[in-house]
C-alpha cells in the first residue's frame, strides 16, 4: 500500500485534518467537534479553523477545563447516536480523562453485551521542541493500545491524516487519534473528495532490501531521512508506517523482516511497554524460533523530557542517531561510521519555533 499520487493537489497535514472534519460534518449532521479552544481564532493550530463559522456553535464549541466530565459527555452523546470529535491540544491532558476512556469508552460495547456503541474520536496532539518540557511532549498511545476496545491511529502524512480521520469518525468505536505537532505543516497529495483509509493496514513508505525500519507518527519522517543518509553507507532501508497502532498490521512488518533480517522500530515515545515493544514481540512471536533476525527499538530517552535544548536534542531519536544505530546493527560496532554532516544537517527536520 504505497501513498497514492493520483491527486494534483498538495495539502498540509493540518489542512487535511480540517478538511476531513469539514467533509464528515457536512455528510453527517451527527458529527460535532468540541474541546478546549476548538472555536477560538487559533483553532487548535488551524486544524479546526472555519468549522464554527460553517457549522455554528451548536456543532463546534469550546468547553470548560473539565477534561474528565467532557469525556463522559462525549461518551454519552456517542451512545445516543451522535459522533463527537473531542479535541485536546496536548496528549498529556488525556491523563485527566483516563477513567472515562479506559473504564467506560473502551468497555461499554462489551460490558453491555453489545447493546451500546461508542462512536467517538479523541484527537490529541503530541508536542515537541521549544522547551515544552515534561508535561507537554508525551506520546502516551501505548496506554491505549494496552486496553481492548479502543482503536489507536497515528498518521504520519496529510493523505493518511485525512483518510484516517474520516475512517475514525465513521467507525462505531472509540478511536484515539494522535497527531504530532511537527507534522502539521508537512504536505502531501490529498484528493479533494471524501475518502477513508483502511484502519489496521500498514504502509511500506520506502522499499529497501537490507533493514526494516518501522517509524511511528513523526518518526516515519525521521526514518525516511535516516534511510537517505544510510544510502551513503550502501545500506538500503525499507521504511514502514503502521498508521494504525491498534489494531496492528503485523503481517506487513513480518514480511519485510523476513526479507531483511533486521528490524529497528523507532518510536516517538518511551520504549518500555511501548508500541515498539508490542511490534517487536509480535514479530518475534510470528516468526518463531528460527527468525534469526536482529530486532531493536529506539524511542525517547528513558527520562522525562527536559526543556533546555542542550538536553532536549538528546532526548529524541533523529536521523543521525537512527542511521548510526542501523549501521551498528548491520556492520557491527568495530567500524565507526558517521553520516555526512552536511547531509545530516539537511536531513534534520526544520526546527519548529514557538511560542504556540
Amino acid at each position: 500500500m504505497s501513498l497514492p499520487e493520483n491527486s494534483q493537489r498538495v495539502l498540509s497535514y493540518v489542512d487535511a485534518l480540517r478538511e476531513s472534519a469539514e467533509l464528515e460534518m457536512s455528510n453527517d449532521e451527527n458529527v460535532f467537534v468540541f474541546g478546549l479552544d476548538v472555536d477560538d481564532h487559533k483553532a487548535i493550530q488551524g486544524s479546526t479553523s472555519g468549522l464554527v463559522e460553517k457549522f455554528g456553535p451548536e456543532r463546534v464549541f469550546t468547553t470548560p477545563l473539565s477534561e474528565d466530565a467532557m469525556t463522559g459527555v462525549a461518551i454519552g452523546a456517542a451512545m445516543a447516536g451522535m459522533r463527537p470529535i473531542h479535541v485536546h491540544i496536548r496528549m498529556d491532558f488525556l491523563m485527566l480523562c483516563m477513567n472515562q476512556l479506559i473504564n467506560i469508552a473502551a468497555k461499554s460495547s462489551y460490558m453491555y453485551g453489545g447493546s451500546v456503541k461508542v462512536p467517538m474520536v479523541v484527537r490529541s496532539m503530541i508536542g515537541k521542541s521549544w522547551g515544552q518540557g515534561a508535561q507537554h511532549s508525551q506520546a502516551l498511545y501505548s496506554m491505549f493500545m494496552h486496553v481492548p476496545g479502543l482503536k489507536v491511529i497515528a498518521p504520519s502524512n496529510a493523505y493518511d491524516a485525512k483518510g484516517a480521520l474520516a475512517a475514525a469518525i465513521q467507525d462505531d468505536n472509540p478511536v484515539i487519534f494522535v497527531e504530532h505537532r511537527l507534522l502539521y505543516p508537512t504536505e502531501a497529495y490529498v484528493p479533494e473528495e471524501r475518502y477513508t483509509i483502511e484502519l489496521g493496514r500498514a504502509r511500506v513508505v520506502r522499499s529497501g532490501a537490507d533493514v526494516t525500519l518501522v517509524g511511528i507518527s513523526n518518526m516515519v519522517l525521521e526514518c525516511l531521512r535516516a534511510a537517505e543518509l544510510l544510502e551513503d553507507a550502501g545500506i538500503s532501508a525499507e521504511v514502514i508506517d503502521p498508521i494504525t497502532l491498534a489494531p496492528l498490521d503485523t503481517d506487513t512488518i513480518v514480511q519485510s523482516v523476513q526479507k531483511t533480517k533486521y528490524l529497528l522500530i523507532v518510536d516517538n515515545a518511551w520504549t518500555a511497554c511501548g508500541a515498539s515493544a508490542e511490534i517487536l514481540s509480535r514479530v518475534v512471536e510470528t516468526m518463531g524460533t528460527n527468525a534469526g533476525a536482529d530486532m531493536r527499538r529506539m524511542g525517547f530517552a528513558p527520562t522525562s523530557c527536559p526543556t533546555t535544548p542542550a538536553l532536549e536534542d538528546h532526548f529524541y531519536p533523529n536521523p543521525v542517531t537512527i542511521s548510526k544505530r542501523i549501521f551498528e546493527m548491520l556492520r557491527g560496532t568495530a567500524k565507526h561510521w558517521e553520516p555526512d554532516s552536511k547531509k545530516a544537517e539537511l536531513a534534520y527536520q526544520k526546527q519548529f519555533k514557538g511560542p504556540f
Binding site: A69, G72, I75, A77, Y112, S115
Partner: protein, 328 residues
Amino acid sequence: MTKAISDLLENSSRLDIDGLLRIYEKLLLIRRTEEAIARIYPSDKIKSPVHLSIGQEAVSVAVCDVLNAEDVVGSTYRGHAAYLANGGSLNQMFAEMYGKDTGTARGKGGSMHLVDMENHFLGSSAVVGTGIPVALGYAMAMKKLGRDALVTCFFGDGATEEGAFMESLNFARLHMIPILFVCENNGLAIHTKTSARWATDKLCQRVETYDIPARRIENGDIFNMRNAALDAVSAIRQGQGPQFLECFTYRWKEHVGPGEDYNDDYRGRDELKPWLENDQVTRVAKMISLEDREAIATAIERRLKEAEEFAETSPFPEPEMLYTDVFA
C-alpha cells in the same frame, strides 16, 4: 391551611388511585426482587457482587413515575431499583445475574452493569460517579437531536465527592441541558459516613451556586419526592435547564451482598429504626385496598418465579462469546 393539609391536597391533586397502584406495584416489585436475590445468593447461583436497593426503593419509584416513555434513566451499580422502576425486564435482569446469555448484557455485565437501551436505561458503571457525565452527554444529545426527552441521573452521596460531578453541574447549566440529577443520599459510602467525607452538608446550596434549582427531601416521603420530581421535570421540559434533587434514604443491607451488618462497628440498628418505621412500601400498602394489594402481590410473586426459572433454564453464553462485542 396547615402545611400537612396543603401537602395532602397537593399529593392528591397530583396522584389518582391508578397512580397509587402503579407506585405500589413498583415499590413491591423492587422490594420482593431484592429479597429474592438475598434469598438466592447463598446458593452461589449469582456469582457476581450485588448491591441491594432495599430501603431505597422509594427514590427511584417516585422519580421514574413522573417520566415519559421517551425519557432516559442512568443509574449506578446499586441500580436494581432504578432499572425496575424504569420498567426493565425482570427476566433479563435475573438472567444477567445468573450469568446467562439471555441477560441484559448477555452475561457480560452482571448486577453492576445492568443496561436496557430499548427502554432508555443507560448501562451502569461500577466506578463511582462515572455515570454522571455520561448521562449528561446523553442528555446533551437529546437536546441537540431535538428529541423531546430528558435524562434522569441517579447517584449516591459518595459520587458527589468526585470532581467529575462538579464539572458536570457546571457544564449542564452552561449548556442548559435537560437533565435531572438525583442524589440518593443514604449517608454512607461503603462503611464511611458522610460526616467523615463531607466538609459540610450544604450540597443543595452548592448546586444552587450553578443556578441549578436544588431541593432536599429529608423525610423519605415518596409523595414529597414525587412532587419535587414532577416540578423539576416540568421545569426541565419548559427549557429551564438542569434540576437537582437530594433525597435522603437508607441502605438496609450491607454495602455489597445479601446480609445485614448492624453488628459491625460502623452503625447500629438504632439508625435503621426510624427508616423501618417510615418504610414507604408498608405506608403505601395501607393506602390501597386489601384486594388490590393481594392482586399486585400475587402477580409479582408469579413474575419472580418466572424470572428465576427463566434465569435457571437459560443457557450460559458459548465460550466463543468471550471474543464478541469488544468492538461494535
